[in-house]
Amino acid sequence: MGTGPVFFRAIRIEMPVPAVYRRLGFRTASTCVTAAQKAGIDQVLDEAASLVELQGSALIIPVRGRQGEETILQTGDVLKSAKLAKMLDDAGEVLFMGATAGQRIMEEIARDSSSENLSRAVLLDAVASEMTDKALDWISEYMGAVLRRTGKILTSRRFSAGYGDLGLENQKIMYERLRMAELGVVLTDSFILVPEKSVTAIAGIRGNVRQGT
């Protein structure tokens, strides 16, 4: 992947409105919303879309070796997780991905929370969360298409630091390799990414391409 990560300065995706509604507890079978309430919610979702500034970065790193539950990367980084090691079992490389919704929407959420406009804050928060997740999907799809042309494929699953048995301290490796500081993201001493709607993930790269029939 060259000498550094690929940066995506303007990831633009359609807002996943059904996912946002679901995150807020909407259930198709039971939840009732009046036309006025829906119009009000949709207006805020519209505003949220203009506040979210999705950016991301991606980096391919070759795997140097494996020792039990440790995957050792060419960079010298060691990822310790039995589940991750299993997923990367036949992967010759890993893909690091990171995405952030940016600072603007978080500032707006904080402003709404402190001015007691919490109903708007929860909508903005839900939009930021869903769109950050979708940004990772976008990066994954883009990198998958790039890799496919070279005869490789991405694992369908991905791992994030702090989930399963992949400790949160691995966030530091992801943060530094992805140079997320250049996306305006900060890593706290307790390995939390700030702005809080920022995520990282690891996928494996393997496989081959052939013609059918």
């Binding site: 259930r27 702090g162 013609q211």
Partner: protein, 812 residues
């Protein structure tokens, strides 16, 4: 036949068959997975020559050089070979393989990076990198160029500009569209076509990502507006994962079966991409042999594009609005921001104007004391990312216009080009080079043309000059000049006459900056609105205006209806209907909640139930005026309503935004009633006191804020310590405030362990009140292990808090 004109004349009578996939062909000849194809081909020249020959023998009229990744960015992943030499040598190999039997296209693929403003690579760096390739390919003797598999329209532009600045060779540009119908970066086929054909691409189309069937709608979208030939190079179907390998399943027979359909849609270049083989190309050639090329006309229409949207300037269509607010003149806040290099207001003005009906955005950076060239360029970059509306570049400085046009990832409208000598040719050359449309201003820098016929003469003169640069009337918009009627009573009539002449006689689209007409008069909005209606009836296509002006936009929509530019008044009805629905529903909502015969108390209940925070003050006032005591409003109106909200939330009839809106309405009501209660000598009984915090290391607090609101609404005093709170501070607050409950929130598995520390510390200090915890990853089981209570959400938190406090009172 090899030069641009030769290829164009061949296209008039026949198709070009392009080659198929190279990667899989090279792998079949031993290229290992993960190798750099360009370098491997140079090390194995006979293999790549064999691939080219196979495609020639299959019937390809054009073979692509094996230089898809031959740019410095891609080559640096494999040690950084010299891009010029790699491209030159691979072009020579292609020529050696096919001789003069077919054309050799210099293949330019993506860098694997995104180009500013969508990525980190500076635009000029991308152009320079592509120029290295182009020079090498020219030196190697290619006949034409093929820029392909582009996801990012800006990268496609950079490559096309690189080619155009070095050669006039025939250039194909194809982009890669997903099954959604857009590129991954959001560009739709029509916007790609408009941008690229106006920038000088000789043929435009699509390749890769999907099979032939999925490309048919893409070509259908492009064909009506394509002034250039169309290209398709599909994959051999959609890829499938079989035994851990990606397989392209489409057979040559199935693949080539789409050939005739593409030709009937007007495609002139057909080939194959991933998964295709010489057999696919051979079948394609056979199946399209003798099929007559479709004579494809195109819709006459001015077109402007952003990276994600095209606006058609249709004569007879609705009046289009160019939003005028992104202009620092008279706007101190915007001036201050631009002087500091900040763009927040630029973005906000863009979003507001589009939301209020602007179709295009005028962008102007003219103010004293700043670098207008640099600032305008930055504004264009920011707007390219933050808004879908195509841009109108507004500057009198040619260098500023050039900088903006070069970086803009779409087809822009230049505001404006006049007949003023000294600038005319320079601006026409710029507009031509970057494929922009322009607003033609009938001024010469000499006498101001007061009469319509004087303006008409200047329009014809300037157009004659513009036509020497290749412009047609589809590429211009005429501004007939709006003068103030306060200075000249016949000014509006002259403008209307000139506008009508442009539309009906000259045959060009028209624009006016309408508000100038009322300068110097009071109540300008009525003059402007009347002038708008008259100009619309006279054939006006575009208006430069402030879309935030409601009266103006209402008259615009009404004019569209009256002039039959809004079929069945759909847009008008939709807009008016939306406004009325908001009003009716707001008024009706509390009645809907409780039935039509609502008492004041019932309406207060309904307002809390509906979350109508804006209404509750008035409704409480009505109830108080009607003699309902404060306490009764609370006890029989608001509290039952919020309990019902909680019940509906638990049953998932309400979801979170409704719960919060109701809680906020309740809170607004309390803020009005509590002071009145105190005056009356009644004090609403507080149920208890809660110290609330998100634990140390955790910065998430929305859930905690929701709990805080719910508790306050239900009669609790809440001391909210905020987020990332060290346990010493929580303990100190507990010692100071002596709460009935300590509430803790954490969102992460790594921070929820702090809750245990807080509980231990609190007990060590002799604080015996219960601890209530919650958060996305917190569970009852965890709460049990640390000796705390657990609440799933705000509603449950209130119930548990109430029971804890009542339980404590019962004991004491």
């Amino acid at each position: 036949m090899k030069d641009r004109d030769g290829i164009r004349s061949r296209l008039a009578s026949g198709l070009f068959i392009l080659d198929g996939a190279a990667g899989t062909q090279l792998q079949a000849r031993g290229m290992p997975s993960g190798a750099c194809p360009e370098l491997w081909c140079l090390e194995n020249p006979e293999a790549v020559k064999a691939v080219h020959r196979d495609y020639l023998q299959a019937g390809a009229d054009v073979v692509y050089t094996c230089t898809f990744g031959g740019n410095r960015f891609k080559l640096s992943e494999y040690g950084g070979a010299n891009a010029f030499e790699v491209n030159r040598d691979l072009a020579i190999l292609a020529r050696q393989a096919v001789g003069d039997a077919c054309l050799v296209a210099g293949d330019i693929g993506p860098t694997g990076r995104f180009i500013e403003p969508f990525g980190d690579i500076p635009f000029e760096e991308a152009v320079a990198a592509f120029k290295e390739q182009v020079r090498g390919l020219l030196e190697g003797g290619v006949d034409l160029f093929a820029i392909e598999t582009m996801v990012d329209i800006q990268e496609a532009r950079a490559a096309l500009i690189a080619v155009r600045e070095l050669t006039s060779a025939f250039t194909i540009v194809t982009m890669t569209f997903e099954s959604s119908g857009r590129t991954l970066n959001g560009t739709d086929p029509l916007s790609a076509l408009v941008t690229l054909q106006s920038l000088g691409a000789d043929a435009v189309g699509c390749n890769c990502s999907t099979g032939p069937e999925e490309m048919i709608p893409l070509i259908r979208a492009m064909a009506p507006y394509a002034r250039v030939p169309l290209v398709v190079k599909p994959n051999a179907g959609l890829p499938a994962l079989v035994d851990g390998e990606t397989v392209f399943p489409m057979s040559p027979d199935a693949f080539s079966g789409f050939g005739r359909e593409f030709v009937s849609l007007g495609v002139n270049f057909l080939g194959g991409c991933c998964g295709t083989t010489p057999a696919h190309i051979r079948d394609l050639k056979e199946k399209t042999r003798g099929v007559p090329v479709k004579e494809r006309g195109y819709a006459v229409s001015g077109t402007l594009s952003s990276s994600r949207k095209t606006v058609l300037l249709r004569q007879g269509g609705p009046l289009l609005i160019i939003g005028e607010r992104i202009n620092p003149t008279g706007k101190k806040d915007l001036q201050a921001e631009l002087a500091q290099g900040r763009m927040a207001l630029v973005k906000r003005f863009a979003q507001e104007q589009v939301r209020n009906g602007a179709d295009l955005l005028d962008v102007n950076a003219g103010m004293p004391g700043i670098d207008e060239v640099g600032t305008l360029k930055e504004m264009v970059k920011v707007l390219s990312v933050s808004s879908d509306a195509p841009l109108c570049i507004d500057s009198p400085i040619p260098e500023a216009i050039e900088a903006a046009l070069r970086i803009y990832p779409g087809r822009a409208l230049i505001n404006s080009i006049s007949g003023e000598e000294g600038k005319l040719d320079k601006l026409l050359e710029l507009a031509s080079r970057y494929g922009a449309m322009f607003i033609l201003l009938p001024l010469t820098g000499r006498k101001l043309p007061r009469k319509a016929h004087e303006r008409q003469a200047i329009v014809e003169e300037v157009y004659e000059r513009a036509s020497r640069y290749g412009f047609t009337k589809d590429d211009i918009v005429v501004d007939a000049l709006t003068m103030a009627v306060s200075a000249d009573g016949s000014a509006a009539l002259e403008t209307l006459a000139a506008t009508r002449w442009c539309a009906e006689v000259f045959g060009a689209r028209t624009v006016l900056g309408l508000s100038n007409v009322s300068f110097g008069l009071p109540e300008r909005k009525w003059i402007n609105a009347a002038f708008l209606a008259m100009a619309s009836a006279g054939g006006l296509t575009l208006a430069i205006a402030n879309p935030m002006n409601e009266e103006f936009m209402h008259v615009k929509r009404a004019s569209d209806v009256l002039l039959n530019r809004d079929p069945e008044a759909r847009a008008y009805i939709a807009h008016v209907g939306k406004q009325q629905e908001g009003i009716v529903t707001q008024k009706g909502s509390s009645a809907q909640a409780v039935g039509q015969a609502a008492t004041p108390l019932e309406r207060v209940y309904g307002a809390v139930l509906d979350g109508s925070r804006g209404e509750i003050a008035d409704l409480i006032e009505q109830a108080l005026s009607g003699g309902v005591p404060c306490q009764k409003i609370i006890d029989e109106g608001m509290i039952p309503a919020i309990k019902e909200v909680g019940t509906r939330y638990e049953k998932k009839i309400y979801f979170l935004p409704q719960l919060i809106a109701s809680a906020e309405a309740m809170k607004s009501g309390f803020e009005i009633l509590e002071p009145l209660l105190k005056q009356e000598g009644g004090i609403s009984a507080r149920k208890g006191r809660v110290v609330l915090a998100t634990v140390q290391g955790d910065i998430h607090d929305i859930g905690k804020n929701i709990v805080s609101l719910m508790l306050k609404n239900n009669g609790f005093d809440v001391i909210d310590l905020g987020k990332d709170v060290p346990h010493e501070d929580i303990v100190a607050a507990a010692l100071r405030h002596k709460p009935h409950i300590i509430g803790l929130s954490a969102l992460m598995t790594t921070t929820m362990v702090r809750m245990k520390e807080v509980v231990e510390e609190v007990r060590k200090r002799g604080i015996t009140c219960p601890v209530l915890i919650g958060g996305a990853v917190v569970t009852k089981a965890f709460a049990d292990t640390i000796g705390a209570h657990y609440a799933r959400d705000g509603v449950e938190a209130v119930k548990i808090a109430q029971s804890l406090v009542e339980g404590a009172r019962a004991i004491s």
